[in-house]
Amino acid sequence: MDLLRFITAGSVDDGKSTLIGRLLYDTKNILADQMEAIERASKSRNVGEIDLALLTDGLRSEREQGITIDVAYKYFQTPSRKFISIDAPGHIQYTRNMVTGASNADLAIILVDARHGVVEQTRRHSLIASMLGIPHVIVAINKMDLIGNSEDGYLQIAQAYKELAEKLNIKDLTIIPVSALNGDNIVDRSENMPWYTGETLLTMLETVNVLKDQNQDDARFAVQYVIRPQTEELHDYRGYAGRIQSGTFKKGDAVKVLPSEQESKIAKIEFGGNEIDSASVLESVTILLEDDIDISRGDSIVSLNNSPVISQDLEAIVCWMDDKKTLKAGNKYVLQHGTSRSRCSVRDIEYQIDINSYEKLDEVESLKLNDVARIVLRTAQPIAYDPYQKNRANGAAILIDETSNVTVGACMIE
């Protein structure tokens, strides 16, 4: 049984929290006392029916306003998979929260209200899913009951969405007509829409292949920590602790250490103190090399014959996340990429992307909260990166404000 992380995007009005509530409820993942608490809260708010949305709104201010402000995580399982649902707010002022949630997702569910079809926020959510490289997108056309479960209505919206998707980079797209409120095509197939012959939402979530999405080709390993026990028995032990970002490493593999470009071979791979033959993407292991090379946190170990780009000049799509300060050419930040940190300066804002119309806006002076743009960066030290769309783990970076220490930008290196 493996793990799937998915994000749901849409506003409260689209029934996003209700959809999550429905998934949890129909897969019997809501416990009795949680249900009682929701019933109590629904009654005190006079919402009539049980409001499944109350399951995900965890903060006092969210319950008071009836909106989701921050990313919420919910956990459930079925006999075939464990799920982490990432519930992100949909409103434009919370774009950074959606980007945050999307950064770790294998799949995105984008909710569309059947009465309104593809609207501005559908375009925005789809752009974010595409930009963040989420491999699978499910468009759930919700509230089908409110358009009489009409097949024509569904087909029109599906067509409009496909036209939009052509402008984006969505590898795997599925469009499902649902009613979260009534549970149609969520877990159980809908009797109200016999014309729909595709899979239900849950079946899609259970069967989508996420292992194939990982980059299996380019061996990359960022050193997090050097293990040196310095005991009598392990006097010369130097193990490089880290997580395989992509590809596979085997004992005996010829490797290169970056940015120094020194070459060596893998002497041993260990997990929890025991030797293993090989390690692949996402595994946390310890690598020992045959040669005594000076390696520290921030360096990477990569395959000798397949190297990332090593450069101090980067171009990246950035989502700006600071609500106080703007990004301008000339500004300096700390760039965190893998386990390395380097000072950097913004050379140029090439263009801003209107996240609703997808238009490129030239001659932009500065970026404010939630703006998306392509920028040019110069780093103090060379960065060993792969393009984000080819390798999410080694193409992602964050910008940190040097004075407040806050994370202010999400970068996808191009």
Binding site: L3, A72, I84, V99, I398
Partner: protein
């Protein structure tokens, strides 16, 4: 109980190799938690692991062992002792620290109360749960800890579901849910100024059942109170509390003897037992799998006071 570095994975090498071929959710969660542990060791000067003797922090210790093997865990275990802890958990804590050769720091709520003239809650539902925060903040200051690793999980409680894995706290230890740092990919930003600290939750994405499944897979011994045993208890408002002098009783309380186990191991004053005959890990897992009541709902009296009880405690610096 014996936990040595050599046996750290708890399974044979062949078994481990087999397992690696098919990714399993426990492997995925474990790899993520180990990655987070190593980020703490790599990013901070003086981290600490907050250890209570409960199953979640026992899991953290195993993950830390695996993260840094064959080296020792490069940070101390820190316990804030309310003085109302189960003796079984305390004994377990001491044995574990000794077998690991780990540094153990214990600070007592009792001492903080005396030194600062803090006023304790009184009455039958009095608890030192809130006062723990004072001792924790003092301990962080005393040792200048810049990161404290804790065993909180997002599935436990709805305010926790909103918290980051690297949870920034200001110089007063306060959590501000509206000013959390965006947490992108697995790029954790642990940069702080002096006096500030970060609480780190490596098992954020684990559920209660995941923890039990992991304890079983890793063959980790637990304090005996997690398994069914006969015990004298106070029956109060439907909850079974340990019969101990630290809980004030009145005429409405009934003293009963029941076969019970504890599903969580917190402060005795606010942790209730559940009636159970589950005497082994398998039996406990079987019971939890079919349980229709959440862990905190069943056993934590402290969360039931208001809808935002945990959110309020965390804003005040609680773990």
């Amino acid at each position: 109980m014996s936990i040595s570095v050599k046996e750290v994975s708890g399974i044979s090498e062949q078994e481990a190799d087999e397992r690696r071929k098919t990714p399993d959710y426990l492997d995925q969660l474990e790899a993520e938690a180990i990655y987070i542990m190593r980020e703490v060791a790599g990013q901070f000067e003086r981290p600490a692991l907050l250890f209570s003797g409960g199953k979640d922090s026992i899991t953290l210790v195993r993950l830390a062992q695996k993260a840094f093997a064959p080296g020792k865990i490069p940070f101390p275990l820190v316990h804030v002792d309310t003085g109302h802890n189960f003796i079984e958990a305390i004994n377990y804590r001491d044995e574990l620290a000794e077998s690991l050769g780990a540094k153990l720091v214990v600070r007592y709520v009792e001492d903080t109360i005396k030194a600062k003239g803090l006023k304790e809650q009184t009455g039958k539902n009095a608890s030192r749960n809130w006062l723990q925060t004072f001792t924790l903040l003092d301990t962080i200051e005393e040792f200048e800890f810049d990161a404290c690793i804790g065993g909180a999980r997002r599935d436990e409680e709805k305010a926790r579901a909103k918290e980051r894995i690297f949870s920034f706290r200001d110089e007063f230890g306060q959590w501000d849910p509206k000013r959390q740092r965006p947490e992108l990919w697995n790029l954790f930003n642990g940069r702080i100024s002096k006096g500030e600290n970060v609480r780190v939750f490596p098992i954020s994405n684990w559920t209660e059942l995941d923890v039990w499944a992991y304890l079983k897979r890793e063959k980790i011994a637990l304090p005996s109170i997690y398994f069914a045993h006969e015990r004298e208890l106070i029956l109060r408002d439907g909850h079974l509390l340990n019969n101990t002098p630290v809980i004030e009783k009145d005429e409405n309380d009934q003293i009963v003897t029941r076969t019970v186990r504890f599903r969580t191991v917190g402060d005795m004053t606010c942790t209730a037992a559940v009636e159970s005959n589950a005497a082994t890990l398998d039996e406990v897992i079987a019971e939890i799998t079919v349980s229709r009541i959440s862990e905190r709902g069943e056993t934590r009296i402290d969360d039931q006071q208001t809808e935002a009880a945990m959110e309020d405690r965390k804003k005040g610096g609680y773990f």
